[in-house]
Structures are given as C-alpha cells and as structure tokens.
Amino acid sequence: MTQKNSLQKRQKTPRRGTMVSQVVDNKDFGHQHRSITLSVTGPDAQVLAQSKAGQFVQLACRDLNKPQTSTPLLRRPFSIARLETSEQQTAIEVIYQLLGPGTEWLSQRDNGDQINLLGPLGNGFTLPKDKKQKIILIGGGVGLPPLYFLASQLKQAGFTSLMAFAGVQTIDRLVGSLHRSAAGPADPLQPTKILDQFAQSDTDVIISTDDGSYGFTGHAEAALKAFLKKDNTWQQAQVYSCGPYVMLKGIASLASSLNMPCQVCMEAYMSCGIGICQSCAIAMQEKPATKQTGTEAKYKLVCSNGPVFNAAKIDWGHATS
C-alpha cells in the first residue's frame, strides 16, 4: 500500500496534466493567423498556472470522446503566448497559423466549446540570475508568441533592459496587434512600442520585414546585427529566440561569433509531446560517447529535452530533416 500512497502523493501536485479547457476567445488576426484563449478551472488551473514561456500545450483538434472521428488523429503542439491567472481559473492564449485540418478545426470553435489540452509541456526559457542583465528577444512569424509571454515573464521578474526584434515577410503578416503610422519609423533601427504584446511588458521593439513594407528591410538577424554594431553595449545581452529554423540557425551563429549566450525555442514534427514516441528528435553537437550514454546523446527530444535549448549545443547542420 505504501507504493500506492507515494504514487498518489506525487500526483497531488503534478507539473502537467490532461485537462478539458473552455474556449473564451477565438479571434482572427488576418492572413491565416488567429488567436484562441482557453480557460481551465479547479485543480487544472493550478497545474496550468505553472506554465513558463517557451513551454507548449498539445491540443486535441477533435472530440476525444468520439473515437469514431479519428481525424486529425494526433494532437497539435502550440506554444503559449500569454498566461492569465486568477484564484479560480487559468487562461492561456495560443496564436496559430491556419495550416491544415487541425488548425481549421480550432478556428471553428465558439466561446464555451471544450478542447482537450495536455500541458504545460517541455522546458521553458531559463531566466538570468542578474536582474540587470540586458535581454534581447528575437523572433519571426509564429515564433513570436512565446517571446510575448517571455517578455511579460521577464518584466514580472524585474528585468528592465529588454529589446525585441520581430521579423516577418511582410508587415501584414505580423502576428499580434500593431499600432503604427503607415510610413513606418524614420530610423528603422529606432526602437518603438508599437506592437501591443511587447508594449504591455514595456519592451522596445524593432520590426523588420523581408520586403521592406515596414521598419528595417531584411531579416530579423540582419536587424539585430546592425543594431549591435550601432550600440555595442547590447553585445553583453542574453539572447532568446524563436522562429523558423533558418532564422534560428543564423541567430545561433551570430550569437556564437559575439560570445553571447543564446537560448532557442525549437519546433519539430511531434506526435505525443511528452517524451514517449521519440518523434521529435533533434541532432546535438557530437560528444564523445560515454559508456553511460552510448550513442544516444546524438539526439535529444524537442518535446521533453526542449523545446528550449542552448543554441551552442545544437548540430545546426543536421538538426532536422
């Protein structure tokens, strides 16, 4: 019986779980991007309230109680863009792009509908110990939402020197709410507070667009590079990044060349999201094999070892397919 008791004790404050959430908001951001807010109550609220920026949730994009509707079969992983806690309930916001049947199903949910949620999953960003540490957040496309959450978490923790870089193909594709003049800033490297999600946490932001439709013309990492050249005091900053693979690879290389610590939030094709199925393998820099780990150290799992990794540890040549 003692076995059972110790098991139950551990299950009293689980760090993650399966829960039925309720849709409280589901809105269109335009250009195939949407935001959905999900709320849970009771003991689930305590579990979900532990969410950290960089962590994600797995949403069942179908009614799990109806096994005859088995499409889409697998859950879909989404990073958390915002966390809102009160005594009774916890809500999270997820910003997603319409990409297939799963996100299509999500987009059709009305307020009050139920969605089965697994979370919070994975390991979030690790915050520096020194509150005076300068912080650079850099993301692109649907990689921005976890950085919105991170900015608010950093602000809450007492960090004051925050600078964000947001890169998109064209300004209309920026996920989040934007307040801007049509012309854009006179100096594209002059930080502003025009992106609501960053403004709420008092984070300055430099927007870059591939097509020059707003702000800095070029990729986000090019904007960061130009900015660091202009103001080298930021070369001491901790870098946090999330976005497309090529972008992260570029940022990892830039950070490494300047000796800047850099954490990246990776994406991978996932099935279970909880470290069981071994789908989301990511190649790490080869370490000499030890008797303990054998060759297993070659791959880590994005879902359970990550999704946040030290950028210097990833084998950027062979990380994903």
Binding site: S70, A281, Y299
Partner: protein
Amino acid sequence: MKSQAQTAPDMSVELGTVRLQNPVMTASGTCGYVFELNDFVDLTQLGGFITKSITLEARPGNPPQRTQETASGMLNAIGLANVGLDVFLEEKVPLLKRMSIPVFVNVAGKTIEEYVTVSERLSNIDTISGLELNVSCPNVKQGGITFGTDPGQLGKLVSSVRARCPQSLLIVKLTPNVTDITVTARAAIEAGADVLSLVNTFYGMAIDIAKRKPILANRTGGLSGPAIKPMALYMVHKVYTEVAQPAGIPLIGMGGISCAEDALQFIIAGATSVSVGTQALIDPGCLPGIIDGINRYLQRHKFSAVKELIGTLE
C-alpha cells in the same frame, strides 16, 4: 428497486502463468520504459505494462522526420531508439519495482545471439514477469522483422531464447507483413512461445509531392492507429481460431484500439488481453476509461468474468 448488488465482474485474465488484474495493457514503444506517463495516468490500474524495446547496445534511432500522421493513422520509423540494456538495468529496472502490476520487457536485436543475451540477463529479475520478443520492427536494417517474416529463422530465434530462459514467460510479437500470419504464429508456438502478441505495425509510406521525396527520413515506416484496426482484428481472429485456441496459447491483441468497444472486439475475436498504443500517445487517460468500458459492458451483458467473453465470436 431491483437488486443493484450484482457482483462486479471478474476482470482478471491469465497470460500463461501470469495473472493480470484486467486485460488492458500498454503497447511497447508507446508508453516509455517505466513511469513516464505518471503525470497523466495511474499505470497501476492497468492489467500489465509492456516497456519499449531494449537492445544490447544503446541506439540513437533514425534521423528525423520519424513520424507522420496519415488518415486515421500514424507512420513511425523511430528505429528502436533506446538507452541499451546496461542503462535500462541500472536506471529503469529499480524504478520498475514500484510498478505493482506485471511488467513485460520488449526485447529486440540484430542477431539471435543479441536476443539471447538480452533476454537471459532480464530473465533473472524478479520484477519482470515476462519478455516480449520484438521480431516485427519494420524500421531497422538488421534483425527485427527479418526474423518475424521467415518461419525458419523465427523458430530458431524463439527456441534459442527458450533454451536459455526456461522459466520466463515468452511472448512473441508478430508482424502483419506476411502472406499468412498463421504460419509464423505456428512457428513461434512450436519453438516454445507461451503467448503471442499481434499485430505490430504495417509497412507504409508517405510522400512529399513538392519535393518528390519520402516524408520519413527512413523512407518507409510502420502504420498504426485506427486505420489498421480492421486488419489487425482479422489477424487476431484468424490466429485464434486456426492456431492459438487449438494450442491453448493466449493472445495479446493490438492494432488501433482507441476505446472500450475496440478492445471488446479484440477480446470477442479471441484476444485474452489487449494493448493500447497510438491512442495512449494521444490521450494517456484513455487507458482507465477502456477498463471501465469493458467492465460496464460485462455487467450490461451479464457476464460474470471477462474470461467468459474471450473468443465468443459466433
């Protein structure tokens, strides 16, 4: 009011000498090594636990992409990624002692010698109730399915393990990728298998038409999930009626089981117990739900024990 005091049905079943408190188990490769699913489900409620495959040496597994969702199914080509026997013995087995339900360790290898070595070292451990020989992995270059498709090789493998592990409960996990599964089923039983589990995944693939490349880095994978359930059910029924029932060998049925109704179909077709794989990856909490559902069915249909239902297909 009518008597509600109807006694709860006896949910227990026997796999050879091992008694399970109910017929629902995990399926190898979908529930980890030990308590990884603990945050989501109390595994001690299950009938038994089947670990992921253990090989002699640690294996890194195949390069990504390793899985792909398909219509009502999932392709996987993980490549038996695992920590290897030594680490399993050192780090996982001590934790398995807390499992309080029968634990079966899935064993895989490249050669007969490897199967024998791994099986023998596991066979002396009290907390392990039996070994499941994986002769059906479709995603590794050597071993695995090559043993499972050739009845001669399969017989040699099973009898070699049997000879060195005379006391162990031996489960042989069959592949559906053969013309006639009763041939390999018979070979496994004749060589000394105590229990058969079936089916492993079906060969499959998916193609990226933009790149004209296979989606899985391994090119092909094994298909699981609801998509394979009718085929798996057919094979369980065929093996039950033609081989297992006459030989008195129990079957562990699996392949796309997602709910109690699916599990009941396998039991009626002849399975003594069932394993839940892909659905447990999606919703670990489904496992106790399936046990409940079976229990309620037995009560509704006035069965006093789940054993009475096995192979009752008319």
